[in-house]
Each structure stands twice: as structure tokens, then as C-alpha cells.
Symmetry: C2
Subunit: 408 residues, 2 copies
């Protein structure tokens, strides 16, 4: 590989046009779309419209005239095909954490004779925190049980109500076999709940063919919905009838504007709604999804793999002291590349100072997200070259790169 060859690949890249859908600042190679997706131009335009025209001019009328009231469902319907979900099974709402709370409660309600939420050691902390918070709150002997990934299959014992896993590990990028793991859970009588935080928008996900029961996902990573964008929740069709969850806010009511004294859940995923939806952020997410128009997730994945392989090969050639944590086999990983190094934090700060933006994860991980909608082969090459220079010149070895910021 050479820079010239990388540029040739970009010249014939069928996804190259998608980069124009994003506002990428000059001088930046953005390898953190797995933490906060870049700004889609359509989202900026739409937010202005929502604020100035719909809120400013339309005022309260926009709940009807701009159909704000059904925006969470419409956004859910647009996310559905990205995760292999049937129409009517996805709702955009609240945060990943809150959606997990709702769906874990649904799962425990469906398996009342079982008391265990099974997850993986090293799952994303909020998933573990929410699960243990819910278990403690129920106060009926429920518990969160975590085991190493390799012990999951044998840990699905007959007291497990639900298996909660993030498909792609946020640190390593390792990916579970969704279909096999779901089958294992089902064989033991447990339900399967997938966290798609690092999957949705990154590659084709097929919840339906995997026979997943429940899923949650994030709006601000690969879906590019903006900082703190609404999250989403999926419920398999077989559980939609009579669906109930414990956060019974008025927007989840069958007829919210009847202002009836008794709660009556809305139909299907409508029951997952709680309070008044965040219209500005929801509009940004809605418009952000335009970036997927006319683009196949299989093509995104194909390009992601090419970028990943180029990047990892060039990094390993230039900075052998970085140890790849992510599985090399494309089938066993998502689209991030993670490397370990004892000075990972300082190295990442030195890279960011050069405009190569990835992120750091405790305790020693450099994390690079590969987002083919706005990354080019030449970007990956240039990033790898910069990493090589930062390592060779010990550019990271400066005090200002070692002081940890509040958010890492």
C-alpha cells in the first residue's frame, strides 16, 4: 500500500459520494464515529428548520402540523431496516440506559419464575449498572450475574431469565455471534436482549433472522444523531401484544390527550414511550438517517473492512509496540480497531493534537472507529503514518498529553 494507491481506491470508491453528506472539519481525520458520529449536513439544516420554523413560527401547533407527536415512531421505523427489524417493532426514545431498564423489566416480566440477568464481564458499564439497579429495585431475589465471554454458553442455566449482551465490545471491538448466542439462550428457556450500540449503522444487523427477543441501541454513534441523541428499543413481534414496561409516562398511554386518570398502555412499541419526546434532538437524528439513503449496509461493511485492514496493516508496520486487541477475522469483530499500549492516553492526546481523532478507554486502549460514510482510504493511510511518527518520535511523551481530562 502507498498513499497513491489509497487515493486510487478512493477514486473508485462507490461510497465516496457519502462523505459530502457530512461536515468534516478541515485538518481532521475523524476516527471516533463509534463514540460520536460526525455532523450530517442534513441534520444541521433540519435542526434550524425545527427550531426556527417549527418551534419559532409553528409554536404549539407543530405537534400536529409538523407531526412532532409521531416523530419517535417515524424515526424508529427508519432505524428498523438498519437492524433487520420488521415495521412497527422499533421506537426511538430516551437514552440507551433507560431503554435497557424498560426492556429488562419486560424480560423479567416474561420469565417471572427466573431471577437472573446474565451478562458478560466487561460489558459496557451502563448495561451492568442498569441491570443491577433494576435487580436491586425489584427486591425479589433478582440478580445480575456476569461471566467471561467464553463461559457464556454454559452459564445460561435454567434460572436465567434474560441474557444481556452488547454485540460488539466497546473496548476490544470483538463481536458476538448473534444468531448462535440467541439460539443458546433460547435453548435454555432464556430471552435474548442485544445492545447494538456499536452495531447499528456500522454493518448489517439482522435481529429478525437471529430471532432476537429484545434490543436497544444508540443514536449518536454510527447513526450520527448528535451528542446525546435519542436511543432506540426493539421488541420482537411476538411480544408486542400486551407489551408493558414500568416507566408508565403519559406518552406511552393509548390516548395521551384523553388525560384519563388510569394508565392504559399504547399498542405495541408505543408502550415504550415515557415523557414528552426531545423534538430538537429527535429531528437531528431523523435527518441524520438520510445519510444512509441509497447506501447498503453490506457496502458500508465491505468498505469498513477494507479501511480496517489497510489501517491495521500500516499501523502494525509503523508502530509494532502497539498491540492489536481487536480480532483480525472480520466475522469476529465490529468495525473499530483497538490497540493496547501503557501510554495509550498520552498517545491519543498527541494524535488529537495532530487532528487524528480517536479515543482512549481505560486502562490502556487506543480506539479507532472506522466509519466508511465519511472516511477515505487515504485518511486511514495518513492516520497510520501519523501514528508511526508519534510513536517513533515519542511525541506523546509530554506532560500536557498525560493530564487526563474530565471526559476521556
Amino acid at each position: 500500500m502507498t498513499l497513491a494507491r489509497a487515493q486510487e481506491l478512493d477514486a473508485v470508491d462507490p461510497l465516496a459520494h457519502a462523505r459530502e453528506r457530512f461536515a468534516i472539519p478541515a485538518g481532521v481525520i475523524y476516527l471516533d464515529g463509534n463514540s460520536l458520529g460526525a455532523l450530517p449536513r442534513a441534520a444541521a439544516t433540519r435542526v434550524r428548520q425545527t427550531v426556527e420554523r417549527e418551534w419559532g413560527d409553528g409554536l404549539i401547533r407543530s405537534w400536529n402540523t409538523a407531526d412532532w407527536i409521531d416523530l419517535p415512531r417515524r424515526v424508529g421505523e427508519r432505524i428498523a431496516p438498519l437492524v433487520g427489524a420488521a415495521p412497527g417493532t422499533v421506537m426511538a426514545a430516551d437514552t440507551t440506559s433507560l431503554n435497557l431498564f424498560k426492556l429488562l423489566a419486560v424480560a423479567l416480566g416474561l420469565r417471572p419464575e427466573r431471577r437472573v440477568i446474565l451478562s458478560e464481564e466487561g460489558n459496557f458499564p451502563t448495561d451492568l449498572y442498569i441491570a443491577s439497579g433494576l435487580a436491586a429495585m425489584l427486591g425479589q431475589g433478582h440478580e445480575l450475574r456476569t461471566v467471561p465471554a467464553e463461559s457464556l454458553a454454559e452459564a445460561v442455566t435454567d434460572d436465567v431469565a434474560v441474557v444481556l449482551l452488547t454485540e460488539v465490545n466497546y473496548r476490544t471491538g470483538a463481536r458476538h455471534d448473534m444468531k448462535a448466542m440467541t439460539a443458546t439462550a433460547h435453548a435454555a428457556g432464556a430471552l435474548m436482549l442485544w445492545d447494538l450500540a456499536h452495531s447499528a449503522g456500522a454493518f448489517p444487523v439482522d435481529l429478525a433472522s437471529a430471532d432476537a427477543d429484545l434490543a436497544i441501541g444508540c443514536g449518536y454513534k454510527y447513526l450520527n444523531g448528535g451528542p446525546g441523541a435519542p436511543a432506540f428499543a426493539y421488541v420482537a413481534p411476538r411480544f408486542l401484544t400486551g407489551l408493558r414496561q414500568p416507566l408508565t409516562g403519559w406518552m406511552g398511554h393509548a390516548r395521551p390527550f384523553a388525560f384519563a386518570p388510569e394508565y392504559e398502555p399504547g399498542q405495541g412499541v408505543d408502550a415504550l414511550r415515557v415523557g414528552t419526546p426531545p423534538i430538537i434532538g429527535m429531528s437531528a437524528l431523523d435527518a441524520a438517517l438520510d445519510a444512509f439513503d441509497g447506501v447498503a449496509l453490506a457496502d458500508i461493511r465491505r468498505k469498513a473492512d477494507a479501511l480496517w485492514e489497510l489501517f491495521v496493516a500500516e499501523v502494525e508496520a509503523r508502530a509494532p509496540e502497539l498491540r492489536l486487541l481487536t480480532p483480525r477475522d472480520a466475522g469476529a469483530r465490529g468495525t473499530q480497531a483497538s490497540f493496547a499500549h501503557p501510554e495509550a492516553y498520552a498517545i491519543m492526546q498527541a494524535l488529537i493534537a495532530r487532528g487524528i481523532i480517536g479515543d482512549y478507554r481505560e486502562p490502556d486502549i487506543l480506539r479507532f472507529g472506522v466509519t466508511p460514510l465519511y472516511l477515505r482510504h487515504a485518511d486511514m493511510w495518513n492516520a497510520a503514518v501519523a501514528i508511526g511518527e508519534v510513536m517513533a518520535g515519542r511525541e506523546w511523551d509530554r506532560p500536557e498529553f498525560k493530564r487526563k481530562a474530565k471526559v476521556v
Copy 2:
């Protein structure tokens, strides 16, 4: 009163300048700020900055460089003085419904030997729904008990853990005596939780001097934070140490970026945080609060009362068939004016067609919000004249005004 006199009052109104802080569309008299506050110009500017500069250019770095991470706390600190709360006692987060869930759980945890949440028949439905949803979820004999407002004092029996009331009733505008009711709850050993949805930003609220234990409030009504703006939650200083709530998301962790496997609540109101905060909407709310800069809530209330009295007198003179539901005594109400009429829905649609925007509430209520930051005496006069004409000419008696929209 005459239009000329109303205009004279506007000419000497010390709050007149505040109207320029809002983008009020031409041809509209906006009397629905109690449902969705009008757009503050600063919010539109700030949202553009947040989207285009902070998200677009800053990307992931803005969590530190724009201090997104502490924005919910900063916004909470700005809301605190509007509701008589000490620094460090208010957090902006999630929705009113979700904050209520958290704080009711806190209250029940503080009174473990008691099982009753006491509220008022006719409280805003989401408050009742959330309370009964929580009670059902706990499954330990907890219950929501509702009584008519006039029976509340005697209903605070020794099984009541927490009294949950909305200070100003969303239908009638009637206002509870916060101090007296809180004292009654305390005398019976119960905690007092106030919903400030129709109070915060409308008039001076003094949670501290009322000795309230807990409170929640809405960001998109009198605080003008935009559709679905983040809500807020208050916890009295005496309960801040060791504060815990059951929605244990990662942002409520003492050190979220340590990614520790065990949940450890943040200090004080930090423990009320759950998932990643909605930065765009939170920025809008933050900027919206600028509209209160240099304006005393007592002056807002004083003008609100003048506008209310002008409006009610003129409406009653012109449309005697509308029956005032709101207490006339300013001390016994908030700042909305509600009238009953069997054709209330159609009447409101006819008014909206004329650009006089209030709203309708089941079963027969015309609701008009009085928001002195952007309303003028002449607006109230003109609105009353329009109401008189709509009633005198039976302008509402058209089929298109009787078809109910999805959102009323």
C-alpha cells in the same frame, strides 16, 4: 379599559424589553406558553452554535472543550434560583415523568415502613401514571391513593410515605399553598414532592422556605426550553448525602469514565443522572434561561396578574357564556386563565385560526397561558376582543373546527 389604555400600560411596562428576547411570529398572540414556551432568540443562536461549531467542528472533543459533560449540572444551577433552591440541589435531566420516577423511588426509600403515595384526583395524568407504575413495579403493597384536593390534609395518614402534588393544576390553574401543604405532610411524617410544571418560571417559587423535600419541573413550558426540553429535579440538601435512585445509568456514576464494573452513585444530585444527556436540547434550555437575566420573578408575577385581570375582565364582559374555572384570588392560582364551555374545542380552533393561540383540555376547557416576558397588555385586550367576536358570531360553529386533531 380600552385598547389605548392597554397600549399606555405597555409603554411604561418595565418588562416590555423582554419581548425582544423572543421570536414571536407576526399575526400571533401566543397564549400557550404554559404548554410550549415561545422561542427565545438566544436559544436559536445557541443551537446553531452547538450543532455547527461544537458538534460539527469540535466533534468528540466538545465533551471537554465545550464542557458538555457538566452542562446538565450548569443548567440545574441556573434553574435553582428560579425555584428557591440552594446551589447544588437541582439537576437538569431526562423528562418530568422520568424525574418523578426517580424521586418517588427516593421518597419510598426514605420511608420504607410506609406504602402509600398520596396525590390529588385530577393531578396531571403522567404523575399518576408514573406513581402507579412504580407502585406496581415494587410489588410490596405500595399504592397510589388519590383524593379530592379539599380532602388532602385529612388524607395524610400515617401510612403515607410521600405526598405528590402539582402546585398549579393544569386544567383549572388553581394553586396549592406549598408551605401549608408541606407542613401538613411533614406533621404526619410524610415527605412532600412538588411538581412545578406550571410554576417554574411563571412566578417566584421558594422550595427552601416551604421546606419541600423533593421537586420536579418542566423545561419547555414557562422556562421556554423548546419542545421536549430536558426537565429538572430538586432534592433538599438534607437528602443529598448518600442519594440513590434506581435508574443507575453510567452518567450518574461517581466516575463514569473509569468504566468500573460496579455502580457507585455520584455525589448529591449527580446521582440523578442516567444516560448521555441530550446536548442539543440542553443547550437550547440553557440559552432560553437567558430570558430571565435581570428580570425578577416577582415582577413577572406582578405583570402576569395585571395581564390576567385585564384579560379575564374583558373576556367576561364580551363572552359571558364562558365560565371562569380559575380562582380569581391571585394567591390561589398560577398565571393561566381557564374557562369552561361545552364547545371549548371548536372555540379554541376558531381562535387559533385567527392567530390567538391557547389550548384545549378535556373535557370542556379553554386554557390561556399568561407569560409576561413576551405578552403585552394590548395582546390581552386584542385576544379578549377576538374571543368576544368568535362567541358573538358563533364563528366556532364550523365542521372543520370540531374535528379533533391528534394532539389537542
